[in-house]
Structure formats: structure tokens, C-alpha cells
Symmetry: C2
Subunit: 204 residues, 2 copies
Amino acid sequence: MPQNRDKTTKQRILESAMKLFAELGYKNASVRKIAKSVGIRESALYNHFKNKEDIFLHIASEIFTTPFNHDENMSTTIAKSNNPKAYLHKFATEFKLITFDKNKENLFRIMMIELFQNKNLRDGFLNEFHNKNIKILAPIFFTMMQEGHVRSSDPMVMAQEFLAPLFYLRLHVTLLRIDSQATTALSSQFEKHVDFFWEGIKVG
Amino acid sequence: MPQNRDKTTKQRILESAMKLFAELGYKNASVRKIAKSVGIRESALYNHFKNKEDIFLHIASEIFTTPFNHDENMSTTIAKSNNPKAYLHKFATEFKLITFDKNKENLFRIMMIELFQNKNLRDGFLNEFHNKNIKILAPIFFTMMQEGHVRSSDPMVMAQEFLAPLFYLRLHVTLLRIDSQATTALSSQFEKHVDFFWEGIKVG
DNA sequence: AGCATATATTAACAATTGTTCATATATAAT
DNA sequence: ATTATATATGAACAATTGTTAATATATGCT
């Protein structure tokens, strides 16, 4: 029977590989570099994974695990409440947390690097990230419009307009962090975005 | 003396290399692939460029050539006029043109692919793209505020909020075009962005 | 203890990489 | 036409790539 330490080695490989894929990209993160970073020889990797791509797929499968635990009842309740702006702040704050989470940051970097060379990641980005978020946000804006909290407009457009600056901010922060540059100024922009956006859509 | 055809070969190399860098990324676009695509042997490349990096640098230098021919007088005039929204439409339309331009699209793809692995490109993105656009937009919004056309707010924030959806849209379009997917729906979003944004900032 | 399994190592492989060198061919100037 | 220069080729190089095979070592079970 396999021993329990296996899980540890397999996980250590995934951790090292994730770090190297994020820093160097898939092609530049060679099997030998990954193995060395784990502390074993390259051939030993093949006891745990079929091949290099297999390692990558294990990591890539984490990329689009829903970032938000979206509670539909809760969000509808807030959207109908007399403080619907709070939901937008909650959304932006979760986005901010993910942006500054070391693990999610690595996954984001891998996604961005391989996005243009990997059809699966492109589909994942469009479906699991973009479409999913729009489908969460649009009905909420729709509810807010019905309740008269927010000016009437196309909910899909409003959702996209709300989402895009958050994504851009995440990209910006991630780039600065690669070079260990300060991100304090950008950190507060997540809240500023919500405030600015709310001023543009609120009624009364 | 060198013949005039040299310029042609050198340019053909740059064109082939640009296409391959955009499709495969720097590492995967090998010298042999580039040479084959030009129709010569790999060693012949070295008569025109010092090495592979030299080819890349020639192409990379084009990435941040100011996309907009920004005429400050004109933009201030429009911002002060009674139709300041027109300037935003002009800006977005130029952005849209660039997005759908085949050459600029390749350069954009190269930028995005190498952004996370090339400090020069990161600096270029932050300074030549982000900061430059903010520095163009912020004073214009400031003028609009002074003229009472636009609600009072932080011009830098407003500039960023206007820019981010355009960038996100460009990314979205570029990804779809890689897989030859339809972008007609997204095409009209550039104008929708301006309309939505304007509704959120206009006074009266 | 002995056996089976899991996991490591060492060595080798074929392929691909960027680059260089010697040499051939084409082009332009005298 | 001869010469000089520019540009091409073919072959070779050392390094690195992903992967496999043979083999050793460690671990867990009976």
C-alpha cells in the first residue's frame, strides 16, 4: 500500500510547479526545474504524474474554482433592501481578497500567461469567469432597478461595467507585485470603484 | 553595397516573427520556425539580426508607440464645448479601431503573453499605456467638471473607470478572435460603454 | 524476517533549442 | 571582368528539453 507521505510529495510537486508555472510560464518551467525545487530527481516526478502536462492540468483545474461563494438568496435580499450598495462592496471586497491572496495570485498569473496559447483556459476565462460573474451581477442589478434603487439601464451592460474595473485593478496589482512594488494606493481603489460606480447608477 | 532587397528581407523577418511571437509566445517561436516562415534557413537570419532577442526587441519597440494621436488643444476645446461626450466617443472609437487592427492585435497579444515574464513590457504597460492614458483623460474630465458638464469627482478615478472597460473589452475581443469566434456583439459595446458611462457622470 | 509495493536514483534517448563557422552564391561598384 | 560586399546555405556545436528503462532503496504488511 502506498504510504501517507505520498500525498505530501504529490502536493509538494504541485506547489512547486504552481510557483514555477506562475513565474516562468509552462514552457520555461522545465521538469528538471520543478523536480529540483521539490528536492527530487526529474524521473521521480513520473511516479506521481503521467507527464508534465498532467501536472499542469491538475493545477489548471484549480484556476476557475468559483472565487465567490455566491449566495443567491442573500444577494437578492440585499439587493431589495434599503442598502443595496452594500452588496457591491461585498462583491468588490471578495475580489480584493482574491487579488491579494498568494495562492490565487499564482493561479491568476498562470491563467494570464497561458490564456493566449491554451484554448481550454480561454474557454474557462470566458465561461467560468466572465459569463459566470455577469450572470451573478446582472440579475442583481435588475432587481435593484425594479426596486427603484438604481437607474434603469441594460443590466448586462451594467454588470460588465462593474466587473471590468475590478479585473483591470487585479491585473494592475498583480503586475506591481511581481516587481515587489507598492500596491497600497491601488488597494483602496477597490472601494473607490464601488463608490464611484454607485454614484453613477443610484437613484435620488 | 547592400541592395535594396535587404530591407524587404529584414521586414519579412519582422513580419513573420511578429506573427509567430503572437501565436506561440517568445519561447515557442523558435528561430527555425521563424526562418522557415520567411523562406530562408535559420543561419541566414543572423545576417539581419544579432540574435533572437534582437528580433524580439525590434518588434517590442512597436508595442507602445502611442496608439492615439492625442491633440491636446482639440480635446480641451471639445471638453469645454457643449458636446463633451463626443470626445469620449472619439476616444472609444480609436480604441475600437486599434482593437480590430490586425497588426495592433498581434502586438497586443505579444504584450499580454510576455507581460508577466518581461519587466520591460511591464514597465511599458504601466507607464506607456496606463499612466499615459490616465494623464490624457484625467485633465479632460477635470475640465468637464469645471465647465459643469460632469459631476464633481476625482478625475484620476474617473479616468481609470473610463479606461478599464475599454481594456477589458479589447482583451475579450482579442480572445474571441483567436478562436475565430464572432465579435459583432462585442463590437457595439464600445459605444455602449460610452453611453453608459456618460449617463453616470453627466450633470443635468 | 521476508515479501510486495512505492518511490527514489542514475543513465540514457531522441528531439529541439540558439548560435557559429566555413563556404557558396548573388549583387553592386570599379 | 574583376573585386568587394551582402546574403544565402549546410553542417556542426553544446545545452536543454520531455520521457523512459534499469535499478536501487525505503516503507508497510503478513
